[in-house]
């Protein structure tokens, strides 16, 4: 890339973010105009298509599959029934609603991809909010934020943690032993901010009506088949990668969507075309355009090229570097999709660690996993930054975009600033908790 192209890429990216932030133009249009500009100036080329598909294909498949399955299950009436149970559990309290979201969504996201989990629980949360007469926006944003933070709970909870963890050879159990506690703390960090950020919902209290008779499931066979599809999906999410033919979560989502459509077709609940039309294509298109913009940003190699610069700034002192990475990747992940950011940052960090003499020259090789223990906090800091930074803004994570898409489909449009007012304080606190955890981890490993 020439200097002009690098500067133009940054300018286009900034313009797109500003257009979305200040609501100057619809966010899909802003992102597509940004992509078009980069194509016209030769920054995005045909050769970029495969990296874009490689990065965006997974998250978009997960969204598509989750949306189809959620739509099909929604037709069974089971969401209304679970919604009733959830509503009873809140006892009419907004405070309990928010706390239950934290308690229920976090473990769910340990086994389901974040955005898929948001799609599945959103109908229940929306119905409970309606019954409690509170705005759906706050609870759905909290759902997205908790789902993102819960990605830190296990090695496979978020693509960013998996990317970093697998790059340094961390096993599932190693992760549980050394990093998961940090994830728990990040999830819990949401709780003290709830009364401050959503005071109306926190204080809301309604007297629940008498318990109504359970919603009748009109087609039990359809329900059973739909739940079997969901069960198969969840099972494959958990064990698919261990099967002789490896099935990764995005593939599971496509298989789940195909089976769910087969059920719809077989039971003739509604035309298959209706289900496909109900998919939130606007959200998928927006994320596709954002992933495309991020590919252009990664091509500038600004992030990767910082390794020598970081060494010149901080020398071989790893802890300041860990904190800078946590904050820097956190900020970048709040504006860009975290997967390519973390992938580029990995190149930068391995380069830095070799330049600093903290790791041997062969650590630059793909697949090197024998990292010295002293370097672990640096990688854990990257995981915190990549996973939690996305909570700050509306475009920081797929789950956020999905949540606001659901809000829009229920007539509540969420602006960039509206999300920021809730997301930014939570992300800042979670990243601070992450920094303390990294410090403690370094002390323990020392």
């Amino acid at each position: 890339m020439t200097d002009f192209q690098i500067n133009l890429t940054i300018a286009v990216f900034a313009a797109v973010i500003l257009c979305i932030a200040f609501d100057l133009v619809d966010m899909v249009v802003a992102a597509l105009l940004g992509v078009s500009t980069l194509i016209v100036f030769g920054i995005l080329e045909g050769s970029d298509l495969m990296p874009i598909v490689h990065t965006a294909g997974g998250p978009l498949s997960l969204l598509f599959g989750g949306m189809v399955v959620a739509r099909v299950i929604g037709k069974t009436g089971i969401f209304e029934r679970i919604g009733d149970l959830f509503l009873r559990a809140t006892g009419g309290s907004g405070r309990r609603l928010l706390l239950l979201i934290v308690v229920l969504v976090a473990p769910l996201c340990a086994v389901l991809p974040n955005a898929t989990a948001v799609i599945l629980v959103a109908p229940i949360i929306v119905s409970v909010c309606r019954a409690l007469k509170v705005d759906i926006v706050g609870p759905l944003i909290i759902t997205a934020i908790v789902s993102n933070a819960a990605g830190m709970l296990t090695l496979v909870g978020d693509p960013a943690t998996f990317l970093v963890g697998s790059a340094i050879g961390l096993s599932f159990l190693d992760y549980l032993r050394m990093v998961s506690l940090g994830g728990v703390l990040a999830v819990l960090a949401v709780v003290p901010l709830l009364p401050l950020l959503l005071p109306k919902i926190w204080e809301a209290r309604v007297i629940l009506p008498e318990e109504r008779p359970p919603v009748t499931i009109e087609r039990p066979g359809f329900l059973v088949l739909s739940l079997l599809v969901l069960l198969l999906m969840v099972t494959l999410f958990m064990i698919g990668e261990s099967l002789p033919t490896r099935i990764v979560p995005p593939q599971v989502a496509i298989i789940g969507a195909a089976l769910a459509l087969l059920v719809v077709y077989g039971v003739r609940i509604e035309p298959v075309g209706e289900v496909i039309r109900a998919v939130d294509w606007k959200t998928i298109l927006f994320l596709g355009a954002i992933f495309t913009l991020v590919q252009a940003f990664i091509k500038t190699e600004l992030l990767q090229g910082l390794s020598i610069q970081v060494y010149q700034w901080f020398g071989a002192d790893l802890m300041p570097v860990a904190f800078v990475l946590l904050a820097g990747i956190g900020v970048l992940s709040s504006l860009l999709a975290n997967i390519p950011v973390v992938a580029a940052a990995l190149v930068m960090v391995t380069g830095y660690l070799v330049a600093a003499g903290a790791a041997p020259e062969v650590a630059l090789a793909p697949g090197f996993v024998h990292w010295p223990t002293a370097t672990l906090p640096v990688f854990v800091a990257m995981m915190f930054g990549g996973t939690l930074g996305g909570n700050a803004t509306l475009i920081g994570a797929s789950a956020n975009v999905v949540a606001i898409g659901i809000c829009a489909s229920h007539g509540s449009r969420v602006s960039f600033m509206q999300f920021l007012r809730i997301g930014l304080p939570i992300a800042a606190l979670q990243l601070s908790v992450g920094a303390l955890y990294v410090l403690a981890l370094a002390a323990v490993l020392d």
């Binding site: 890339m1 200097d3 078009s36 080329e45 970029d48 190699e301 020259e361």
Partner: protein, 341 residues
């Protein structure tokens, strides 16, 4: 919905319709930037250092200039990036530099594991030892049990320990962050010897407090150190350009084309190196992605290999390193270029 779905299809089609995979990524980057970013050793006399006027000089520097002359038609279009040894490969991998010339030994581990390419050997060297002249050390056997300064992140540490172990001797390596620090530690008496490529030892000896004569380089060499330019492994076209810039330097010496006699040789049109069919020359250059007459530009910029060697590290330099293995194959050395045709 229909509109956004169509937009999505249009986006994918737009990307599919774009020009397909572009080869020669580094070469094209250098040309579009108009500058070669060359990673060189940090201040080693004879190899890469800045003179009193701030001008870069040395064997590595001349090679960078030769490449810039071939690719950019101007030997001055080089951004020299001095690199510590440990930062060499990170700088190349993160594309901070287009070409690495920092006294780097060609090894299988580096080529296979780091996925870089070594286009050819610029200098045949070997790992030697420098000791104070006043100390009675004549051979390596006299260094049994000694503390030896060695630069961190080089192949020298492992070779040092392996050599002493194989010979039933012990050694205490004292790891230093740079060649300068390793040499300074020897001069300060922190170690009994300093081990590195013999060329680097000769360079550092120039900076000895009591003059070069106060330190000696032992005659033994414990390794072969074929020093090569290094390029990123994903751009074979770029590796080809670098390899043939090196080969043209060697061919220049083989055919007796010197910088001073270049114009005469072109005019006489008798030298086999310069007597190329213009059509073929153009075809080769176009295939390499550079402009025709690149070989002439290289030789005009820095001279042939012998001139580059003698000027920087050989008899015309303060280092005065014998050519030894760095002579042409016709004179008992190892430098040999494949033919152009």
């Amino acid at each position: 919905m229909k509109l956004t779905a169509r937009c999505f299809a249009v986006l994918v089609l737009m990307l599919l319709a774009l020009p397909q995979v572009k080869a020669a990524e580094v070469l094209n980057g250098v040309k579009s930037r108009g500058q070669l970013r060359c990673g060189v050793s940090e201040d080693i006399p004879g190899f890469s250092e800045r003179d009193a006027n701030g001008q870069w000089r040395g064997l590595e520097v001349d090679f960078c200039r030769a490449v810039a002359a071939a690719v950019l038609n101007d030997p001055e279009k080089v951004d020299f990036v001095p690199l510590q040894t440990s930062a060499r490969f990170p700088a190349l991998q993160t594309r901070r530099v287009d070409l690495l010339l920092a006294n780097t030994t060609w090894t299988l581990t580096r080529e296979a594991v780091l996925r870089v390419r070594f286009p050819g050997i610029l200098l045949y060297d070997g790992q030697g030892f420098m000791v104070a002249a006043a100390v009675k050390v004549a051979t390596l056997a006299d260094l049994d049990g000694a503390t030896i300064c060695v630069e961190k992140g080089t192949t020298h540490q492992r070779t040092l320990e392996a050599h002493f172990k194989e010979n039933g001797r012990s050694v205490k390596p004292l790891l230093m962050a740079s060649a300068q620090k390793a040499a300074a530690a020897l001069f300060a008496g922190q170690c009994q010897a300093y081990t590195a490529d013999s060329g680097e030892l000769a360079a550092m000896r120039l900076r000895a407090p009591g003059g070069p004569g106060s330190f000696v380089i032992l005659p033994e060499r414990i390794s072969r150190e074929p020093l090569s330019p290094v390029v990123w492994g994903g751009d074979p076209e770029w590796a080809t350009v670098i390899r043939w810039v090196l080969n043209i330097l060697i061919l220049g010496e083989e055919y007796g084309v010197t910088r001073d006699r270049l114009d005469v040789a072109i005019k006489e049109n008798r030298n086999p190196l310069l007597r190329q069919n213009p059509y073929e020359g153009e075809m080769i250059a176009r295939s390499m992605g550079i402009e025709p007459q690149w070989g002439i530009r290289v030789l005009r910029a820095v001279g042939n290999y012998g001139e580059v060697y003698e000027r920087n590290v050989g008899r015309d330099s303060p280092l005065k390193i014998e050519r030894g293995l760095n002579r042409l194959w016709t004179h008992g050395g190892l430098h040999y270029s494949p033919p152009i045709d």
